[in-house]
Point group: C2
Chain length 385, copies 2
């Protein structure tokens, strides 16, 4: 079932990962109307599937995440993005649960995306790749779960865009989601969020090395544009307080300002580093496609109302927000909770006091760990795990 594949380095930043391939005769019907085939979904697993196949937990990653949730990232050499959350004895305990994390459709770590070869042309898709949605990502995940022989998931868990996928799972496949933990997310992308994404896309597209999306064939990358996009986005992941606490107006390796345009301030140096290190692990077109999928996300619009979206939901929900998250503020989590209450769903809501901003879901937040761990334990008992 696991295929180790090393893709040509010039096509994408793709390391060895488990990849499930869906052939010409197994297309995925996308929201845009296009039938995509063939396609591949790359994923990592942690822990063991029990005999009853009832202990699978699907982890959904955020915009720039990938399937390496709990093990060393093959490109950066850093611990997985949720290694605090997932592992033996951790809140999502791999001694008890079989954890699956896929790279989203449209991604650049092995799942089919704009950097993949277009079978019709033999060249990378570039902008010929169809625009995908959060629902399309979830459809692809559902196909993988089916392929793995898992009839229903014990839990679907994710933060930010991962939380959008969690909500979409609960709305689209209610019978396959026993419990759901959407964290630091919203049922629709706000105007401000669309605006920030548009800035990022324009930054990428303004880079002449983007070449209308055909940079891979030219052997270049829109590094500067993508770095600027990442810098702008990164500010939105942190709170004003977190930036103040972490950097304030501290200078970088100097006693006084240089009266120039070098990175005088630590926060400048930090942002530049965030931008430059990001381009080494992420594909610019994937960034365009995934931000677009988030912009398009509007569960109420897609289902004729938010409560309507959840009318068939059978899952237990644990909705989590952070007080200092200004990208997906608590009021947007409350809207989800209200809609769930309106259909008498089983929902608990945890607003966590934190000054770390949106990124809190990735950081050391004991209250988050306790909430996830406690909720999953109770749900496991209900499921007889």
């Amino acid at each position: 079932m696991q295929t180790d594949l090393t893709h040509p380095k010039d096509h994408a930043l793709i390391p060895v990962s488990a990849i499930e391939e869906f052939g010409e005769n197994e297309p995925i019907q996308l929201d845009c109307g296009h039938d995509l085939a063939p396609f591949s979904i790359a994923y990592q697993t942690y822990g063991k599937l029990n005999e009853a196949r009832t202990n699978a937990v699907l982890i959904c990653h955020a915009l720039t995440g990938d399937q390496y949730a709990a093990d060393t990232h093959p490109l950066t050499g850093k611990p997985g993005w949720w290694s605090r959350m997932i592992g033996p004895g951790k809140p999502i305990d791999t001694d008890h649960y079989f954890v699956i994390c896929t790279n989203v459709l449209g991604g650049c770590m092995g799942s089919t995306g704009p950097a993949s070869l277009n079978p019709e042309t033999g060249r990378p898709y570039g902008l010929d790749f169809p625009v995908i949605t959060i629902a399309d990502m979830v459809r692809a995940q559902e196909r993988l779960i089916e392929r793995l022989g898992i009839p229903s998931l014990f839990a679907v868990v994710g933060g930010s865009m991962g939380g959008m996928q969690v909500l979409e799972w609960a709305a689209s496949y209610p019978e396959k989601v026993f419990s759901a933990i959407p964290i630091a997310t919203a049922a629709r992308h706000s105007s401000q969020n669309i605006a920030f994404h548009e800035v990022g896309r324009q930054a990428v597209m303004a880079d002449p090395d983007w070449r209308g999306g055909r940079y891979l064939e030219a052997g270049v990358r829109p590094r500067k544009g993508l770095a600027v996009a990442r810098m702008a986005a990164h500010i939105t992941y942190l709170s004003d307080e977190a930036l103040h606490r972490k950097f304030g107006r501290n200078l970088q390796d100097r006693d006084c300002v240089t009266f120039g345009f070098d990175a005088d301030f630590q926060v400048e140096s930090y942002l530049r580093h965030q931008g430059m290190s990001f381009v080494d692990r992420f594909d610019a077109n994937s960034y365009l496609y995934i931000t677009r999928a988030m912009d398009y996300f509007d569960l109420a619009q897609d289902h004729g109302g938010l409560a309507q979206a959840f009318r068939k939901a059978r899952s237990r929900f644990c909705v989590v927000s952070f007080t200092s998250d200004w990208l997906y503020p608590t009021r947007e989590s409350r809207e989800i909770v209200q809609a769930l209450n309106a259909v008498a769903a089983n929902v608990s809501f945890v607003e966590i006091e934190s000054d770390k901003g949106h990124d809190a879901f990735l950081l050391h937040e004991p209250e988050l760990f306790d909430a996830v761990s406690g909720f999953l334990s109770a749900a496991a008992e209900r499921r007889g795990l």
Copy 2:
């Protein structure tokens, strides 16, 4: 005293304005240690100076503002940026006050800046222009006021970066400021604000048409980079609520999303327009220099403590903030008020309930108009105007 000057179009976007020139023997000592000479300050005036020369109000503009505060902008054809505030019968009443608004040093509307000719080389300064500070801008304004024969200002008024100049005036020339109205500002630029500025600068510098700052000689402009910088900044000028109210997730001239990267959403279209129209009226290097001046602003650091900065202040202060301004939040205005209180200054503080965000100071805000009008009337009475 007024010199009408039309500068060569390829050097800067400079229309006809009053310009005061300071010669080789009248250098300005800059914070960076450089003596700048010659230099020019472009300005507009409204109303009449009284015989006692006691009714002059200096208006300080924000990052992308200019001297056209109250009359039609010569490049855009739009009303002056503060035409709601300044004019006959308006809060800053030109029937009573002589209003002066200068283009800041480092600007691109006639005052000396990076687009000006460097007398040493005969070429535009570009990055050879010295890095300036808010205090340098104020020094240049003080030279102009002196040249105009005005011994002291009745009031100094400004929002955002204009407010920084107001604070700097009160700290550096306490005997020359009778009253001061710093609006939607802070005594120092926060880490988050520096971060957003750095994104903008990197966007400009990433544009190959920036050419290390030497684009004017090459007959090009870093249009795309500057547009991205403006787009990112513009989001920070509005509140989340204002964006939601104004645009929400409304689509632009279409019934459904196009599954592409066109501006599907109104907010995208709006931002693109903001970016593109900005580059027609603003010089990219000026944007770098002025953002840098704001980043460097830290009144407490410069004066050994914020209260210390105001210890000689004799002005009456009216400090104004807006509830939904997340760029210069109310708590930063409170810090100013607390420091003023600590030195027993005469200060009133107005926090205005508004959902318009930082840009509220430029918009129709009756409570702001009432505050400014009332404060100035009382101060005028005190001054016997």
